[in-house]
Amino acid sequence: MTATASFARSIIETSDQIFVLLKQWLVSFLPAAWQPAAGVVLCVAAIVGLFPALFALTTVLERKGLGRIQNRIGPNRVGPLGLLQPLADGIKSLTKEDIVPARADWAVHFLAPLVLVVAVFMGFAVVPMGRNLVLVDMDAGLLFYFAMGASTELAIFMAGWSSRNKYSLLGAMRAVAQMISYEVALLLSTVVVVMMAGSLSLTKIVAAQNQYTWGLPHWYIFTPWGLAGFLMYAIATTAETNRSPFDLPEGESELVAGYHTEYSGFKFALFFLGEYLAMFSVSGLGATLFLGGWSAPFSFLTWVPSWIWFFSKLMLSIFVFIWLRGTLPRLRQDQLMNFAWKFVLPMTLLNLLVAGLWRFMGEGWERWVLCTAILVVAYVVMGRMGMRREHFGPRSYRYAE
């Protein structure tokens, strides 16, 4: 009896730690002095291989999903059910001509997609994708993540500026304005998590959420401030990754393609890749901060390997991203800015106060009622104020009449 129990436990343990054990086994063939460096290279290779593969899968699933939302079938020509479509797209983008505009700043034009992809990949280094499954367990992981996230803006502006094209430049200007506005809200929405967990380390934040009461997890989304923070985080990241309805920087109906108008071939594919990788990355971070990272949603499901939970949460957020894209029309520039500065930012600031209140009111039902009430009242008041229409009188002309 105990033998079978311990055998079962070892199976669960092995499947949970399979990637860690695999790495250790592969590294063990090398001399001891090389092992740490080889381990890091192996992890990097895994990340660099895995997420682009996920990107390929997501592009075809997104196109099929959007098709279904519009009552279409979606791509179904290449391979069974169109699943080899990304392969065809990849070959296409590799064989296309790489055009650099005659008067472009070719060095910056060349560097921009690389900077974008590298900066986005760096973010994955600190996100824990399972128990013990993190490349660098940094004490200030969250800070590092946002530092890397902010440098994608640089890449986008490099691309727009170096192309010497008005659409590119306009797209880049829009992108920078939008990303800086929402960067503030993004950072502030995650500060509540840091306040509660008491750490900037993402592994510690997950560990703080990996506890259960009556079989239910202590995920931050199940608290009033956590839910509000998560919603603000979701809005801000949608804007950060230039996804619909915040896809103004590449609004194809106004700006051709925005900052990557002058990119073709594989450089364009890199921008596309960078955009989707950023989406995976913010989804992973959102799951880590608010949805308990790799922890199971119920205590009786903890035997399922932790990395499965992490990637299912990630794919769920991707699904929501696609769903939103299929639903919402694009915002106008003034709506976008008003929304960032007059709604999202005040709400995140208020959320900081609410989180403080929650922390110092101690256990009990009072804090639930009070914190929920504050947030709901603020939401209603700000919603009313934001939606208030200004009524203008009949237009009068000073000179035209």
């Binding site: 279904r68 939302i69 009552n71 279409r72 079938i73 939103l324 299929g326 639903t327 939401y379």
Partner: protein
Amino acid sequence: MFGEGILKGLAETARNFFGSFVSAERLTTVEYPEQRIAPFEAARVFPFLVYDGEDWLAGLRCVACQICEKECPPQCIFIEKSKDKKPDFVGKPQSYPMRFEIDISVCMSCQICVEVCPFEAIKMDTAFELSTGDRFGGLLLNLTQLAKPNAYYRQIHPTGAAEVDARMAEEMAKAEAKAKTATDAAAKAAADAAATKAADATPAAGDASQSRPDEESRR
């Protein structure tokens, strides 16, 4: 106001997403090369020339009047008129086209040629798979490629063809009636002439009266 609109929109798209898997009315896509639907009767692509009977050269309705050539807005029709004449469906001698070419890369499918044609000779086709490897010669259709039987016209545009057939049958009947009265008159004249001949015995008058009704029946 507080985001219900977004939720409503999300519900709608979710309904579409799942609905398209279960209900066939939602998913209206026809996967073209494998699946096809019959072209609509009112569909029009490029013009073709109608001929009656078996022999296309003999039965061609076109009389090379060149009205369509003159009316064509993008000027995609080229007609070369014949020097000699041949009888049309009512037996009247008419010119016919030596060359009739339509450049379908120029044609804009406006159907003006069809509307101006007084002889019901040019009609719109519904065939749309006209791609070719030769972009100069392949897109310039000549008389042999353009001529199609009336049976084909009846098949693709049943309503329009029925109207045209009725109109032509009426014309034919009118022409026949006219011919009949003419032949009757001729017969009568011949009888009269015979009577006069019998009376006067002058052959020249009888010949003249016999040749005139013949020409009348042609007209």
